[in-house]
């Protein structure tokens, strides 16, 4: 059998970059150097800090379980806050997302308003919302619940709307041909079809809420965060360790339950 030989020249492995690409890469490198310059990075401080870190971690062990009962209660409060906030947020996300999805929004202006509101809820960090609610409704878990609800709306309304926009146009046209109103199209088609994606986003937002609810206490918005803050400020690193372990158990536990629920809910469907 004769060997195959190409008639044309083999293209090189790498092509020479254009001057635009070179300029772009130079810009990115400059940007990175500039960022490092401003980030206050100091090898000296880091090396000096190493024994400190080691000592602090050493002081955490063994964890102090003396205050475990009160820690457990604030852990429960944290979870209640996260769950209640997520439920409120998910419920409010339904109407908001229906307005914020291109194919279900009744009017262009409502669509813009809903999109803007969702972006606002999402882009303002949760600690800022917490500060706002602590200042308005007072210190305690209610401020945290409201924070979680707003945060959930920013997340869920966006993803619910995206799920709804993914709905195929065919069945929508079929329902239209049956004389269906927009509301009926929404409930008889868009909603059931995007339910898996809605369920998925809701469970993700519960996980997210649990993670963020543990730090809301730092600014007085309820939950276990305040315990952690007090323990750290009083140099009770052994108590802080117990708290951190509890938080780990809560977060991992909720993630486990949530992914179990996800797999169970997503494969049953018929109505």
């Amino acid at each position: 059998m004769s060997e195959l030989v190409a008639l044309r020249a083999l293209p090189p492995r790498f092509s020479t970059p254009s001057w635009k690409a070179v300029l772009g890469i130079a810009f990115l490198i400059a940007l990175a150097i500039w960022a490092f310059a401003g980030a206050g990075i100091s090898t000296e401080d880091f090396i000096d800090g190493l024994p400190e870190m080691w000592r602090l971690i050493g002081e955490m062990f063994p964890p102090d379980i003396a205050r475990s009962e009160s820690i457990a209660w604030s852990l429960v409060e944290t979870f209640q806050m996260a769950l209640a906030g997520t439920i409120i947020g998910v419920l409010l996300s339904f109407p908001l997302s229906a307005l914020a999805a291109r194919n279900t929004s009744p009017h262009w202006s409502l669509y813009q308003v809903a999109r803007g509101l969702t972006a606002l809820f999402r882009t303002i960090p949760d600690l800022v919302w917490a500060l706002f609610f602590v200042a308005t409704v007072g210190i305690g878990p209610f401020a945290g619940t409201l924070t979680i609800a707003v945060d959930t709306m920013g997340f869920c309304a966006r993803f619910f709307a995206e799920g709804m926009e993914e709905a195929d146009r065919g069945p929508e046209e079929a329902l239209k041909a049956l004389g269906s109103s927009k509301i009926s199209i929404f409930f008889a088609y868009i909603f059931p079809v995007s339910l898996p994606s809605i369920t998925n986003s809701s469970l993700f937002s519960l996980e997210k809420a649990v993670r963020s609810s543990v730090i809301l206490g730092l600014v007085g918005a309820g939950g276990i965060g305040i315990e952690l803050k007090v323990a750290m400020e009083m140099f009770r690193y052994d108590q802080a360790c117990t708290i951190i372990l509890c938080i780990l158990i809560l977060v991992i536990g909720v993630e486990r339950v949530s992914s179990f629920a996800r797999s169970r809910l997503l494969d049953q469907s018929s109505r």
Binding site: P171, A174, S180, A188, Y189
Partner: protein, 271 residues
């Protein structure tokens, strides 16, 4: 509520008598998508109690024409009368009412996936004054559930009533779509290649069902098809679309085989 629906139907049949026997008529329909002129002046009508077959090569505008009749696509010019009403002059509410009295079977079945076959059939009543009770079979009045089940039985799918439709085969789905149209108790059925995805036996059965409906219930039927034998067997008239106009219109027994072969050849082709 049921009484109101019955009243609607009788009121509508009185109306039909006063407007002669034409279930749907097209006059001078034009439609282009961008620079693609699909329909350039199509006129014909279909009487109650009769079946019209619409034939034409791929892309000749059969689906477009059928969609125009319920304003699922807005024609550029021309007028359409359904049950004697000028469709293009109706208000949104009146249009929904007319649509609810017309059974439309799409080329692609367009069922709502994740919902059961029974629910999809019950959707046939969604424009007929049942409000939210036609959204899901679980909340539908018993009268609707029973009638929908009977329609599924008629297309041989009563064993699949509670199966989510995405688990049905393409042909089974198409039969559910036909059951949905029959369930509407329509006075006119527009069926876009109703038998295309069906095996020869089920295709024959579906066509027989449609013919039986035109004869026993006085329905007007337009069906598009690539099966010339279906057009010859089940239609009272054959309307042939080519290059945006009606190439010929005739009774099936007047059709000539060589003429038909010429019709399907690309225009200008010497073959």
């Amino acid at each position: 509520m049921t009484a109101a629906v019955a009243e609607n139907v009788s009121e509508q049949s009185d109306e039909m008598k006063s407007h002669g026997a034409s279930a749907v008529s097209f006059s001078g329909i034009r439609k282009s998508f961008g620079s693609n002129q699909v329909l350039c002046g199509v006129s014909f009508s279909c009487a109650s109690h009769s079946a019209t077959a619409l034939i034409g090569a791929n892309g000749s505008g059969k689906s477009t024409l059928l969609r125009c009749s319920l304003r699922l696509i807005e024609p550029d010019a021309g007028s359409i009368h359904v049950f004697g009403k000028s469709v293009r002059e109706l208000s949104a509410g009146e249009l929904r009412k007319v649509r609810s009295q017309v059974g439309f079977v799409f080329q692609k079945h367009n069922l709502v996936s994740r919902l059961s076959a029974l629910t999809n059939v019950i959707h046939g009543a969604i424009g007929q004054g049942y409000s939210f009770r036609a959204w899901y079979q679980s909340i539908a009045p018993s009268e609707l559930r029973e009638r929908a089940f009977a329609c599924l039985e008629r297309v041989g799918l009563s064993d699949f009533a509670l199966k989510p439709v995405q688990t049905l085969s393409g042909g089974q789905s198409q039969r559910v779509a036909i059951a949905r149209a029959v369930f509407q108790k329509p006075k006119l059925i527009l069926a876009d290649e109703p038998a295309a995805s069906l095996d020869p036996e089920s295709g024959q059965q579906v066509m027989e069902l449609l013919r039986e409906l035109t004869q026993s219930e006085g329905i007007g039927l337009i069906f598009s098809t690539h099966h010339i034998d279906h057009a010859l067997e089940f239609a009272d008239r054959v309307v042939a679309l080519k290059s945006g106009t009606i190439d010929f219109e005739s009774a099936p027994d007047k059709l000539d085989a060589t003429e038909l072969r010429k019709f399907y050849m690309p225009s200008g082709s010497p073959l």
